[in-house]
Symmetry: C2
Subunit: 348 residues, 2 copies
DNA sequence: CGCCGGGATGTTAGCGCTAACAGGGGCAGG
DNA sequence: CCTGCCCCTGTTAGCGCTAACATCCCGGCG
């Protein structure tokens, strides 16, 4: 047993010498080639173990052309969705024997995106995964002429590149349907930023469900995913309600804004679900503990990550693969209830 | 102008040929060596630009022994702190010309940690950054005999390895002091998980401040960072208060638990700050929009990331560097107020 | 008995880059 | 005008690995 504190880096020929074979045989063992005698294989494996040898990945990458690294670029990881997507992706990549190199964009501009992909190329990652919900980012991705396989996540198919995502439209319909089922005449909507495909998809789903139900489609309010913007929307909504507008249900495009909205409503003396029902999107860990617990739509990020990696590996293997969007799930909690007319909640 | 759609990867000698120099001169230009005639340098640079050439990082890594990649290993990135730390780190690493390879541990066990570091070694990253707030992780880090420079983040100096962190003790003292200054006789505390150094540091800071002020040190409640555990603590606290215990102020070890606690209190008919003052830790984006807006302690993760990278680069350069912990900041909001005796809040 | 085929192993040639040394031309000083 | 030095540039030799080819040995068959 060799002491593991190596003064000099171990190389393949050290293993070869110890096993009494050529370095090429060691290489064959490591790469699992057949045509190695069982006896030899075992001796080599023992030598590797005893020495604690690790193949040099740079040398390997140089000759094979693959670094077994995936690049992931995203914006705004401080939001729940991107963060969870990262976790899901990393887990899936690791399971497949790949490392994940991460870039967090400061801003969702075309230039920043191009720069990030550029860095990935320089780093010679095998493929790039991009969380591209913002149009700027998507556009930048369009412009990047790269021989690298590219898979976009949550881009809503806005790009011809292979993509995976959670079905945002379906999620929004779920939320809207839920409120309609509760007896609300219609549902108001607070959107995410207009340049986000995700936000537009949720808007579209909301609109579609309303139309399908023959409900009027109210003018919607606009936010930017952040709690302050939800707060602002809440104030405006409260004012409109006080002015006599018939507002009983609101679908907010994400939980963070819903939280801000709830706070504003509360300040204005309006309480969910009694005065107005509120549904969010994302299912933050905090959602069940808001006042009131927030009804919301959950996205399965682990599954999303798994599919993204699956897709990228398929492309790497030259296979074409088409994946259906991941279906979201509605979680009904206390923030949504029947229409406020003094009756106790009855329906569902 | 060459068309950039390359059928074959560009190599250094392509650039050399175009610029009419040897590949070594190209190398010199790329690596910013002096002793290159301005005229030549410019011609080479133009050729690089026109061809869109990018040096092959694997070849470079092979010969220099450096991949210019940093490995970052963390647990539980779905929490705000780790996520923000990642962002800060990535930003700082990128600014220094390094890439960040990320591993998210499924569980904070020694084995998982060892495995992660192992992978990093195989990947030949230049150094490893570890977010090691859990004892298991710290212990694992102890056991990992690696020639790789290792810098721990938020480990509270529990390891002899160089470390950076936000001063948790100071943050907890800030929170406690704030409540004491408001006139509370003492401050109760909901801790994080016992095997987290961060949690213990906050506990220690709370205890120290109380002792320094000559205030009694109540038995504390235990949570695990999650909203449900905070909720649970809130219920118990409410019960104790109803049972006649003198509870007027609570310092909760993080915002997520504080949120759960607030919800439980609300359910029990207790409202902050009227019935009890609550202070959290982290400053989630949601904190200002809770009901009531949460007083909390903010950690500067961007700065933390910067220092971590600074430290790791110093070690890589052979310099020894000792950095002071990053000071946290208290943000007083509506969830904390004077002792409840029927008076309206006055001070601050 | 010699030849052939195929499995096991060794040898050689790069992958694309940087480091170390070699050369060559200009300018100052003798 | 030559020497010597310095600045610039080119040439050569690897980094550690894998792929392709060469070699060897063995058994089977004509």
């Amino acid at each position: 047993m060799e002491p593991e504190g190596a003064t000099r880096a171990l190389v393949m020929s050290d293993v070869a010498a110890r096993a009494g074979v050529s370095h090429q045989t060691v290489s064959r063992v490591i790469n699992g080639h057949r045509n190695v005698a069982p006896h030899t294989r075992e001796r080599v494996e023992r030598a590797i173990r005893e020495l604690g040898y690790r193949p040099n990945s740079a040398a390997r990458a140089l000759v094979t052309g693959s670094t077994r690294t995936l690049g992931f670029v995203t914006v705004n990881i401080n939001q729940y969705g991107p963060g969870q997507t990262l976790v899901g992706l990393e887990r899936a990549a690791r399971a497949a024997g790949y490392s994940l190199s991460v870039t967090v964009l400061d801003e969702a501009t075309a230039e920043a995106m191009r720069d990030a992909v550029d860095r990935f190329m320089a780093q010679s990652v095998d493929a790039v995964l991009a969380l591209a919900t913002y149009d700027d980012a998507v556009e930048a991705l369009h412009q990047v002429h790269t021989p690298l396989p590219l898979v976009t996540v949550q881009s809503g198919g806005a790009l011809e590149a292979p993509a995976v995502g959670v079905d945002q439209v379906a999620g929004a319909r779920l939320a809207t349907r839920h409120l309609l089922d509760l007896g609300h005449r219609t549902v108001h909507h607070v959107t995410g930023p207009a340049d986000s495909k995700e936000a537009r998809d949720r808007d579209e789903g909301w609109r579609a469900e309303l139309t399908a139900a023959g409900a009027p489609v109210p003018v919607c309010l606009h936010g930017d995913w952040t709690p302050p913007s939800g707060y602002e929307a809440g104030r405006r909504l409260a004012a409109r309600k006080r002015a006599g507008e018939d507002i009983t249900a609101v679908f907010v495009a994400n939980d963070q804004m819903a939280l801000g909205l709830l706070a504003a409503l509360h300040e204005e003396g309006l309480e969910a679900p009694w005065d107005v029902s509120v549904v969010g999107f994302d299912d933050l860990p905090e959602a069940p503990y808001l006042t009131p617990p927030l009804t919301t739509v959950r996205q399965d990020f682990a599954e999303l990550g798994r599919r993204a990696v699956e897709l990228v590996l398929a492309r790497l293997a030259g296979r074409e693969l088409h994946l259906q969007p991941v279906p979201p799930v509605l979680l009904a909690r206390a923030s949504s209830g029947p229409v406020p007319v003094g009756r106790t909640p009855a329906g569902l």
